[in-house]
Structures are given as C-alpha cells and as structure tokens.
C-alpha cells in the first residue's frame, strides 16, 4: 500500500533547463511586465539552447531572449514593459530582422489559441482577427463558416484560431507545495493555468514552497490556480520574477526596469555592460548583483 502521498517534484533551476531542448515551443506565463518566470528565463539565456519558439504576452522575457538570439519564432500579441511602453530589445530585434519568424496575434486570439490547445481541439472560432492585418500577415490562419445561421439568416465567417500547442510552459506563482499545487496571491491570475493545460509539461517557479495545508491556511481556496496534475516540476526561486511585478511579495522594480530599458535601448557597449554585470552568472549571482545595484542607488 502506498501512503497516498503524491510525488515530490522539487527541482533546481538548472534541472528545469536540462529538460528543455533546441527547437522547442515554450510558453511563458505572466503578462507583459507582470509575474514572469524570470529566473527560468535568465537560466535559458545562460544555456546553449537555440531555435526556440517562444509564445508570450511579452515583456522583458521576450526582449532578453530576442537579444540573446534564442528565438527562431515568436508568437505574441504585444511586447511591453507598461511604464516603458515599447520594449527596446524587442524593437531592436524586429527592426533588425533578427527573429526569423513572427506571429503577431490579437490578445484574445492568443487566449483562444491556448484554449483550443488546452481542450485538445484543432481550432476555436472567434471574431477577432477578421478584417485586420493579423490575418493578412499570418496566411496560415484561416476562417471557418458557421454551420448555423445568425439572427439575420447569414452564415457568418469567423476566424478559426489554430491551437497553440506548447511543448513546455514556464510560469511563476507566489506559493506552491512540493507536488505542484500553486496559488497566485496578486490581482490577476493572468493565463498561467491555460499555459499549463496547453503544454505537454509545465515547470513552475514560486516565491516559496510550503506544506499543502499551508496553501490555504490564510488564503481562499479560489486562489489555487494550478493543480499538480498540470505540473511536472516545481522550483523555489525567491525574487525569481524580478524585475517584473509579483505582488504581494514585491511590486515591479521600476528603477531596475528603467536601467534595463536604458541599457537595451543604448549602445552595444551599454548593453554589454548590463549583461556583464547582471546576466553572466547564475540566479544567485543575479540576485547579489541586483542587491548591490540597489544599494548603490540609495
């Protein structure tokens, strides 16, 4: 008889990256500059991984991976840092044509594509995309005619949003147990559950791993966003979403984001200096470098 206890899925950042391989389609959770699995993204920067398809409502995750030349294909609806509306590394990559393939979708189409994948459907219909250049610039996306009449008797032609199937989803939440049950404690779940269900495997980083009972001791059960059946591995990465927003644990580090954007939008030497200082070591080195930088700013 087993003790009925599900398996321990705790991993290190390095072990997660070792599960990834060249050419994979990787979905990155969060939203723009909010609750991004940045520790995992930083580890990908430091790996030999290449030719990735990245699927993201993008922020600095996309900017960093683009600047490092990791992206062969990018699926996005926007890339923005909110307070810095245009992501400089993403802009540079697009304007210099260094991302070989780009699929720009409407925000809602992006959700619908993930939903189709999560429901194991080839596509789902919606209105978004009709009449816009999203369908012109993505000739692989076609339309479908409704088999049912609209109130006026017409048979509406709708966008057939293809499923966005992911090999791997990377998401960052506030708390999890060692089995992969996880809560978000901030204002918005974003779409991390949808990423997880659209993916073959999901690796989850969290601020803190707690006992299963600890997940709901001071938190409504409705904040449990991920069930362990959707999760392959859990990594504890305190401050691991830095410099994106991860409330209530911490807000976006606006000063650091500004420094990032300034370096990204500056000369090659500016960027090299930023990279050298923050992005050449492991996660512990990054966190130390950030702490030292923050002390300098006081």
């Amino acid at each position: 008889m087993s003790n009925g206890k599900p398996r321990d899925k705790r991993m290190s950042i390095e072990e997660v990256v070792a599960e990834l391989s060249d050419g994979m389609t990787i979905g990155i959770g969060g939203w723009g500059p909010r609750r991004k699995p940045m520790a995992l993204v930083r580890a990908i920067l430091n790996s030999d991984l290449k030719d990735l398809t990245i699927v993201s409502w993008g922020g600095a995750d996309v900017g960093l991976l683009a600047r490092a030349g990791k992206i062969r294909k990018l699926v996005y609806a926007f890339v923005s840092l909110d307070t810095v509306p245009l992501e400089p590394n993403f802009q540079k990559a697009r304007q210099e044509g260094t991302i070989p393939e780009v699929v720009e979708l409407d925000e809602g189409m992006f959700q619908t594509g993930l939903k189709a994948a999560a429901e194991r459907l080839p596509f789902l219909p919606m209105r978004a995309g009709l009449g816009s250049d999203v369908l012109v610039n993505n000739p692989q996306i076609t339309t479908v005619t409704s088999p049912y009449p609209a109130p006026d008797g017409s048979f509406e032609e709708l966008t057939a949003v293809p499923a966005i199937n992911l090999d791997v989803a990377l998401v960052h939440l506030n708390r999890a147990d060692m089995h992969g049950n996880a809560t978000y404690l901030g204002p918005d779940p974003y779409f991390d559950d949808l990423f997880a269900m659209a993916a073959e495997r999901t690796f989850l980083s969290v601020e803190e791993i707690v006992d299963t009972a600890g997940l709901t001791v001071d938190t409504p059960v409705q904040r449990l966003l991920l069930s362990r059946m959707m999760v392959s591995g859990v990594v504890e990465t305190p401050n691991g979403a830095h410099f994106t927003d991860c409330r209530p644990d911490y807000a976006r580090d606006e000063k650091f984001q500004k420094a990032y954007a300034t370096a990204a939008g500056g000369t090659d030497a500016d960027w090299a200096a930023f990279e050298q200082r923050f992005l050449t070591g492991d996660e512990a080195a990054y966190q130390d470098a950030v702490k030292a930088w923050q002390e300098e700013q006081q």
Binding site: L86, D106, E107, L130, D133, E156, E157, P187
Partner: protein
Amino acid sequence: MSSSTTGVTRADVCAAAVADAFKDDGEIFASPMGTMPMLGVRLAKLTSNPDLVISDGESLFLGGVPPIFAKADVVEGWIPFRRVFDVVAYGKRHVMMGATQVDRDGNQNISAIGSFARPKRQLLGSRGAPGNTVNNRTSYWVPRHNPRVFVEQVDIVSGVGPKRAAAAGPGATRFNDIHRIVSNLGVFDVGGPDHTVRLLSAHPGVSVEQIQEATGFELDVAGAGVTREPTLEELVIIREVLDPKGIRFKEVPQEDA
C-alpha cells in the same frame, strides 16, 4: 474665439469631448487607455452617465470615481484580463484606445510603422485592437493631431474600420462600431461618404482649415460644428476632483482654447 475669461483650456475641452463619447452608452464597461480617455470616462460617470462601469485599470471594478492618479476606491467587481476578454465578446464594453496611425477608412495602427516583415519602427503589437473593433464599441484618442497620425492608409491594420469589416463579411460587421475619434484639434466619426472619417466639430479656437492641414487625407467637413465647451460643473469636477494635479496637461499642453 478666446475663452480666456473662463480659463477653459484645450485639455478641458478634450475631456468633455471624451465624456460625450460615453454619454449614451448606458450600463457598460468603459475601458479607457491613457490619461485623457480615463479623465473623460470618469467625467462622464460623474455627469452624463453614472451607470458606466469603470475599473482601476488593472483588475478591479470601482464603485466610486476616484481622481485619475488614484486607484483605491470601493470595489464592485473583479475584472482580470481573462474576464476583459469575456466582456469584449459579450459586447457590453466601449474601449477608447490610442492610435499611432488612423486612416481615412477609420482603420487604426498600433502594431508597427513600415512593413510588417521588417518594420522601420516596431510599436506595441496589435494588442486587443483586432478583437475590440469587431466585438464592441471602439473610439480613439489622439493627443497630437498631425499628418503622420492621420494618414491616407495605415501601414498595418490593427483596429478594423467599417470598410475593412464589410470586406470581411457579416461576422466582422455585425458588431463593428467605430464611434468617435477625439484629437487635440477636433472630434470625428466614420460617418463620411462610404464610411470615411468625418469632422464632427473643431475645438474652440481651431479652424477647419487647420484641421484639414494637419490631416493626411481629405476630410469630410460638411456640417462640422464647434466642440462644446465644458460646463462650469464639468470644469469644477475636472480641476478639483478628477485631475487637480493637472496630469492632463502632459498630453495636451495648457493653453486657452
């Protein structure tokens, strides 16, 4: 025509014009992107349309109407991004977006300047514009009206105007509703010949010729009037309640209208 006696600024006129765009919407989610749209929406809620549902710009519906720099107020609902998409499809929403370009046919571009394959300038990406424009009422706010914004044809169609919607069929036209374009110079709709952009009113102190010169295509100006000035009540609300710090002047610099 100077209003120096009342000190009405162009920004105040714009705020009232934005508010007017929402006055007949009834009980729907008013979704403003940026400072002036937010100011105008909250002004409408405090004057012409108290039924509007407004948010903190993040994930909460607010029961009260705080100043534009404030977020906290009585909470009356939860509107995370996933439910924003639900409401877009449900249709009870009026979004006022920005526009890097808007063209004669009422198409909008926030995606990129130049070719999509290799943009001269990459912008945000399409964001929700394609979905908004075929699902719910959509308006645009342009703080600096000039011929690089108001162009003959946008480089990339993010937001869909009525002609493009018609070409895509009834699935696209059924809920396509480009309501107003408010700029720092005037108020427009897409009621011109063949659903093109038409000048509804020039702001006080702005001539029709000035607007035509600042526009990269020929405007339908027949029947254009003058944008109304805000009432005394509106001015008090704008200045004392919603924007006492004058954040609106960052978008539309202070000058007498």
